[in-house]
Structure formats: structure tokens, C-alpha cells
Symmetry: C2
């Protein structure tokens, strides 16, 4: 993983000339002169983890204190994170990186850290985009890198469950499962780098969530290491034995415990996959069609709808920007996965329904293009940052009746704030996750970086968008999480009693307050 | 509701002569000579809620302290509960019954009770079968009867959600929804008496859960009154904004807060309903067929399978006991609900699948008989108790690979314990809830009452069954809850860290410990 950007540096692609022109013409983006600071020129303050604490940690797990390890575990992958890394800012670097090789080593590390008052930031793929890896600065902080917990320790083909360790990266999990004929079906944009534990700790949701469900819906049991000991929860698909404690650790973002393994529902590897495009006249009519599919079926495995702006710019089809400009309307993508017969049947029933709902089929090409570029957007962001633009995303979800107002309010808040700051943005949106009672909204913002502090400008815009989400009945996150960036709005969302409840849970499991301090809990 | 039995006394039916004969012949049941104590002869100790506490409560909500009100709020509907009530035992009677008319009145009642150290037992339909209404005896206890919170306060036809108050009884909720063209689809055996709040607080699951889901899956938002204030949670169908706090109140059994309303997903009223029977050679082959439907589809709206014993005795068809005795094998019931076309399509695909899996169609009659008698079993239990027999149920759930051993272990534990006690039982079982990764097991036990203390005999058998559930990977309850009866095994299931977590939550929301003390929290 690139330390100050996304993914495999060899796969970085420069911004197409057409896009650079478009950015300049539409948004006034000027080519940037400042190249990112190089890794070998980065300075990190000396680690403060020394003496007995370091010795005690080194006795229970591998500890790395070299500068490169520390820099590579600094912050996540939000645009502000990346801009700070590109500028060579390392104030948030952990004092050490600890790499436990087992659940018991994680427990031992937590015990040492509780004893020595060392803050612990659980680290999976490092792909948080909400400040989940930048806790409140404590005296001493370690990154707890879980990459060595990377096994599939059990597969039950009768129950269709698998036990996956937290540090397994998603592609490795899929490879292990595929060898036995199964898939998890969780394909978020961060797929190539993110880990199983991260999916669980942040309640991730993949691009095929309509067919395979969210990650939290896949988890039937989990094991977490906490400063109070080990929590093992989940004995059955569903239970009436009290509150569902799985649901307290799912979404706990490393602040309540360290999830070390999960038991997930798996599905047979699909025999067939097919993705295709549909055109709707407007975002409203496309959204209405999605609602009908989500409520009355048939529901494709993948279902996403770009608004007019996103359709035009073609971010939904990163390889072919501007190609769609001539066709007005909104692009809906529908994908079908499963058995050969099942896929064809689902596709045929979806065709009937989408035609009846006003859709116009565009054939396989837009679908295949989307599938080919489905993990490419973060690379595109690096290219945009390199070209002097600012690009960031945010997302929410709400019940269907709130979606139109919520969409307009967030778009308007972003547009108004950034325009007032002198950098009128392009705001694009898609719906990528649908349920019977509601849907998600995922916004992408691109604008010029502006003369003065672009992070302060973005902070104001993000605050305005978050306020609009709160005011219009949305949740502050559908699948990115709370981290530090959303904590204030999360606090509003759960209210004072919910906050007291979370604090009670935090104090109960982590009495010394070492776990990701300042993350999640309002 | 009958105070010492089930339901509407006018609908009570005597045990068919054939069954009485069968009971005597098979199980040695002797007709009982002791008639239940009559309501007017019941004695209740004077209520201990007097003075300032009573005055303070009466100032915020209606309070009833008459004997009949207190007796009618004593205990739930487990067989031990009913046997104690039939014997006129009223030691568990609350000191008063409080009937708030609004969420704010519930909050005010909790504030008074916290101030005056009065324990609070939230009371919906009073149908708990796990001791959920018999908390640890406190100095002073009120039953908090929620029957006046009985409105549907909102219906959102676009999002397909409805806001239902906690005290609404299920048939009333269905009537209110049906008037707008919707249904909840939650039809547990307690349907005629149980309440919306009770379903939420105990994670109920209805007979059509394959099609409509469990109650906890229907709840998208809820409001609870706690001694710390009001908790409002749920803004979207799904969220990544932290742990799902809805899931802490669902299943909280009145021990963490009083759920006063829930926002539930609703569905269009079905145009068509059809139920039918299938025969499988064995419980194993029937269960394997159910697993295939749950994992690969098509999944009927209702799907249940009786084991050989239950099929033989025909408890699955309460009106026609012994009729099925001549046909060996196991009865599977499949039901289809939805649009006319959808129902026929689902039925046709299910037929193809069940035939391929070894099923033999028995036509509509067994299905229609089941549907007619679907809420009748608790009446039958009263008749069995009246005839001198002992009858009780218990249930669990597990992952599919554990089901065969779990089934055998629980059946053997019940049989061995009760046989050793001199009352060899008839143990019957059905699977009535299926998921991709597992299923429920629901056991019914009938035996003679024995000469000495039948409740002690049952307690030993129930302990043996609960130990078998724990040892064979089951959860201590799939849909009845924890109450006081399952608390010990629930504690084993969540372990010491889970227990600490629940205690922290309890202390955070209910610092004075007034809510259902001794219920749920180990």
C-alpha cells in the first residue's frame, strides 16, 4: 500500500488529458506545483515508547520502531489524511508498530498497554476514511497491526460458515474460500487492501450488498480481545438470548475491543456473473425504480444508480470519462450473480421490471466497464490530487421518504459552502445500497484546491454536509464509520442516553481507556 | 386473558377422549382430582406500596392496587407459572399495577420508582414462558402495564414503515395496518395476546419467519424510556454509525429500559395465502430438505417440520390427534403468501425442489388444518393440565452442522431425566425457523404429573435439557428469551466478559437497578 496515497504504486494511472482539461474548464483547477514529500525525506519525532513499556511489549509480540514502519501506520486514507501525508506531516505517527501473531498475543499486548497506559490503534488495511486511525493524541500510542492473523481457521460446508482471522485481506479471504468452492461476496471499493477485521469493526458494505448483504449481516459469531478478557459471541444464526452482543462489537472501530476473528456466512462461488447498464430519465425515476425492486423484487445482486452529474462525468465508468456526456439521464447498473440458470432468470425478471419502470437497456458494456474499474476510484483520487484538484467522498443512508430532500440538502450544502470559499465544486452522487425501507447516498466532491488552506475549506463543507444529513433524517454513515470525523454527529444521532450507554460499555470493557481513545465514543 | 391459563376462557376446549385415553395408555397419566383454585378465593398479601411512593406514583399515572389486578399481573404463562397460579400461590404478585398512558408517563413512573426504590416489571401481554415476569423479589414491585400505549402513531407507505406503540396487541396492530393495506407478518403462537413491545423486548419470531423475518429484523428504530432518560435509536435501514444500539434494547426484556414504541418494516397485505403438507421419510431427510431451501431457495413463507413423534401424535394438527398415526414419516408444512402470481410461482418452484429432495405431497388439508389451529396449542396445554398431565415446551437454535446431535442430546436428556423420575415422557420436536446457516428446534414434552412435586421434576429435566443445549452448541433460546429461567445458561453463553458488558450496560442505563431485577442479566 502506498504510504501517502492508494494501493500499488505500479498501478497508478495519470489523469487522462480530457479530465485535466475538464477540471480546468469546469472548476478552475490549476496544475499543482508541489510534489509530495518523498518517503526518505520524511522526519518522524523519536518514539516515546521506551524503557519498561517497550521491553514488556517486546516480550509478548514483535515490535517495530523504525521510522518507515511508523510512517506507514500513520493515519488512514481520507483526502485530508493523504494531503497531510503528501505534505510530510507525521505528527500522528504511532510510537511503535506491534505485530501480534495470535489472539493470545493480542490479549497480552492489551494487558501490557493497560498496565503502562499506552494507547492502542488496531490497524487492518489502514483504509479508514473517517479518522479511525487518528485517535486523540495520548502520551504513547502503538499501531496494533493484525496482518499476521491471516488464516481461515475453519470452514463448515454444511452450515456454510467460515472462521476468518481479522488480519486477512479481502482478496486472500476470497482465494482461501474459492479453493473450497465458496465466496464471501463482500466487495467494497477498498476490497484490494481492506481486512476482514476492518470490515467487521466498521460495518462495511460491499458493492454487491443487494445480493450478499452487508458485512455485519454476514457475521454470525466473533471473537474479540478486550482489556477485560476475551469475548466470544454467537452460537446460532439468530437467538433470543438477550441483546445481540455481536452488534456491539460490529461497528466498535477498535474502541471497545480488538476483533481477532469472525465466523461469517459464506455462499457457493457464483457460476455466472453479468453486469449491465440501464438509462433512466432522472435520478428520481431511477431511485423510484430501485425502491420498487428493493421492496417487491426481483432484486439484482448489484444495483447502483448515478445521478445526472455522476452519469455525465462518468465517474461511474472511470475509464471513459466524458463519453456519456452526450446522453442525458442517469445510469443504473444492475448485476446478476449465482447459478447459470438463476442468473439468467434473475436477469430476465429484472429486465421486465426495469422496462415497466421506465428504464432503457444500455447493454452489457457499461456494466462490464464498471466491473473492470470497480476498485479504481481511489487511484483516480490520487491522480486528481496530483493534478491540483481536491476530491473527497462522503455518504449517508435514510428511509426512502427522506431520500429526495436529503439528497438535495447535502448537495446544496456542499455546493454553497465550497462556492462561498471560492472553489465551486462538482458534486456527484450515487445510490449503491438499497433496502426495503431505505437506501444509501454516496457523494463525490471535486473542486479546485483554492489559494489558502484547502483542509479548512473542506472541513467547513464537510461540517455543512454533516449538519444537512442530521437535519434531514440521515445517519452520519452508511458504511464508512464514525472515526473521529463523525463523532460529533454520531453523538447527536444517539443522543445523550445513547452516549451514556456507549460510555458505560467503553468503561466496562476498557476501563483504562487505552483502545483508540477519542475514536467513536462521543 | 385467563389469569391461571391461556386466552379466552370461552374458547377453552376439553381434551378429546381419544387423547385422554392415549395419555393414560402411553404415559400413565391419571385424571387429576384437584381443580384450580377460583379467582375469588385467591388471597394476596397486602400490597407494600404505600405512603409517599404510592402517592408519587398516583400523581403521574393510574395505579391499581386491588387484588384482582395484582393477581392478573402475577407471573407469565410457563407451565410452572400456570401450575402455581392454579394452586392459588400469589407470592409473586406485584404490589400494584401502574398503567401509564404515554411515553412521558412511563418516564415519570421510572423516575418515581428510581427515587423510591420500587422495582418495575414491564408488562405487555403477560405471555412470557421463561420467568420474565418474576424478577428477584424486591421490597416493593410494580407491574408496569403498557396496554394504554396502543396506537399506530405513523405509517409511511413510501418507506413501508409504521410506528407502533408497545402496548398494542398483535391482532390490533394487524387490524390497524390492514386498514392501510399492510401487514407486519409476525404471527407467533402467542399472537392473539402478545404485544408489540413484548415482541421487541424478547426478540420474538413468528410462524411465518421464513417469509417475513424475525421481529428483531422488522424493527428499524425504537424509543425506550430508561431511568437515565429517553433513548431514540434508528435513522436508517442500516448504518455504520457505531454499534447498533437497537440491538441492545431488542432482547433487553425490560431489564435495560422500557420500549415504548418501535418503527417496524411493513409489507403489503398478501393477496393470497396457501398452506400445504409434505411427507418426508425421516426427520433427517426433512431437515436436509429445509436446509437446501434455506440456503439455495426457493424459501416458502412458512416452513416447519415435525419429527416422527410430533407427526404421530399430530400436535402439529391439534384438531385431529392420532389421525396421522398410521402414516409413518415426518410432516413438513410449507406456506406461501404474497401476490397471487408470486404465490403460485413460489409454490410451483417449491414443489419442484421438495420433490427432488424426497418429499411426497400431501395436499392442502394438513396445511389448512395447521393454519386453523396455529394459535391453539396453549389452549391444549390447559386441557392437558386439567386432565392431570404435565406439558411444557422449550426451544433452541444452532448452526446446521450441530442440529442432528443437538436434537438427539436434548431429546435424550429430557427422556432420561423424566423417566428416572418415574414419569417417562413423550418428547416431540419441530423445526419452525430456518436460516442459511442454521435452524431452530422446538421441543414439546408431555408426561404424567407424578406423585410428588412435579415442578421439581420438571426443573431437573429442564436443567438437563439446558445443559445439553449448552454442551451441543445451541443457544439457550431462539425466540422465548432469557427471563429468570435461562439466566444461568445465558451467562455461560456470553461468558464472563459478556456478563461484565451486560452489567456495565445495566448499570449505565438503570443505576438504581429497578428494572426487572434478576431478569436477563446474569
Amino acid at each position: 500500500m502506498l504510504w501517502n496515497g492508494w494501493g500499488d504504486p505500479s498501478r497508478a494511472t495519470p489523469l487522462p488529458q480530457a479530465v485535466a482539461g475538464l477540471l480546468h474548464e469546469l472548476l478552475g483547477v490549476e496544475p499543482s506545483a508541489d510534489a509530495p514529500v518523498e518517503l526518505e525525506r520524511i522526519r518522524v519525532a523519536p518514539g516515546r515508547l521506551t524503557g519498561p513499556a517497550l521491553a514488556a511489549l517486546s516480550a509478548v509480540a514483535e515490535v517495530r520502531t523504525d521510522d518507515e514502519s511508523r510512517v506507514r501506520h500513520t493515519r488512514g486514507k481520507s483526502t485530508p489524511d493523504l494531503m497531510r501525508m503528501r505534505a510530510g506531516e507525521t505528527a500522528d505517527a504511532p510510537d511503535a508498530v506491534v505485530l501480534p501473531a495470535s489472539h493470545d498475543e493480542v490479549c497480552a499486548v492489551l494487558a501490557v498497554c493497560a498496565e503502562h497506559a499506552v494507547a492502542v490503534v488496531p490497524f487492518g488495511g489502514g483504509t479508514s476514511v473517517v479518522g479511525g486511525l487518528t485517535p486523540r493524541r495520548a502520551e504513547r500510542v502503538i499501531a496494533l497491526d493484525l496482518r499476521r492473523l491471516n488464516a481461515m481457521t475453519a470452514l463448515d460446508p454444511v452450515s456454510r460458515t467460515a472462521v476468518l482471522q481479522a488480519g486477512l485481506r479481502a482478496p486472500d479471504a476470497e482465494r482461501l474460500l474459492a479453493a473450497q468452492g465458496f465466496t464471501l461476496g463482500h466487495f467494497p471499493q477498498s476490497f484490494e487492501w481492506a481486512t476482514i477485521g476492518g470490515f467487521a469493526a466498521t460495518r462495511g458494505s460491499g458493492q454487491a450488498s443487494a445480493g450478499y448483504g452487508r458485512f455485519d449481516e454476514m457475521v454470525v459469531a466473533l471473537t474479540a480481545a478486550t482489556p477485560r478478557g476475551t469475548l466470544d459471541t454467537g452460537r446460532a444464526p439468530r437467538s433470543a438470548a438477550g441483546p445481540d452482543l455481536r452488534q456491539l462489537l460490529l461497528g466498535s472501530e477498535g474502541a471497545l475491543g480488538v476483533i481477532t476473528s469472525v465466523t461469517v456466512r459464506v455462499r457457493p462461488l457464483p457460476q455466472a456473473r453479468r453486469y449491465e447498464g440501464w438509462r433512466f430519465d432522472s435520478f428520481d425515476s431511477g431511485a423510484a425504480a430501485m425502491r420498487r425492486l428493493a421492496q417487491d423484487g426481483p432484486l439484482p445482486t448489484v444495483l447502483r444508480l448515478s445521478d445526472e452529474a455522476e452519469t455525465m462525468v462518468g465517474l461511474a465508468r472511470p475509464q471513459s470519462v466524458s463519453e456519456l456526456r452526450s446522453t442525458a439521464g442517469c445510469l443504473l447498473l444492475a448485476g446478476y450473480e449465482g447459478t447459470r440458470d438463476g442468473t439468467e432468470d434473475l436477469r430476465s425478471r429484472t429486465h421486465t421490471a426495469l422496462r415497466a419502470l421506465g428504464g432503457e437497456p444500455l447493454g452489457d458494456e457499461p456494466g462490464e466497464q464498471w466491473a473492470e474499474g470497480r476498485y479504481h476510484a481511489p487511484y483516480l483520487r490520487d491522480a486528481l490530487l496530483g493534478a491540483g484538484a481536491f476530491a473527497e467522498t462522503l455518504e449517508t443512508a435514510a428511509f426512502w421518504s427522506r431520500i429526495p430532500d436529503l439528497y438535495a440538502a447535502v448537495r446544496d450544502a456542499l455546493t454553497a459552502t465550497l462556492t462561498a470559499a471560492g472553489t465551486p465544486p462538482l458534486v456527484m452522487c450515487h445510490i449503491s445500497h438499497v433496502y426495503e425501507t431505505g437506501a444509501s447516498l454516496y457523494f463525490t466532491v471535486v473542486c479546485a484546491r483554492g489559494k489558502d488552506d484547502p483542509l479548512a475549506h473542506w472541513d467547513a463543507a464537510k461540517r455543512a454536509a454533516s449538519d444537512a444529513i442530521a437535519a434531514h433524517g440521515g445517519t452520519i454513515s452508511h458504511h464508512h464509520g464514525v472515526g473521529t470525523d463523525h463523532r460529533e454527529w454520531f453523538g447527536q444521532e444517539v443522543g445523550p442516553v445513547g452516549t451514556a450507554l456507549l460510555r458505560a460499555v467503553k468503561d466496562g470493557l476498557d476501563p483504562a481507556g487505552i483502545l483508540n481513545p477519542g475514536v467513536l465514543v462521543p
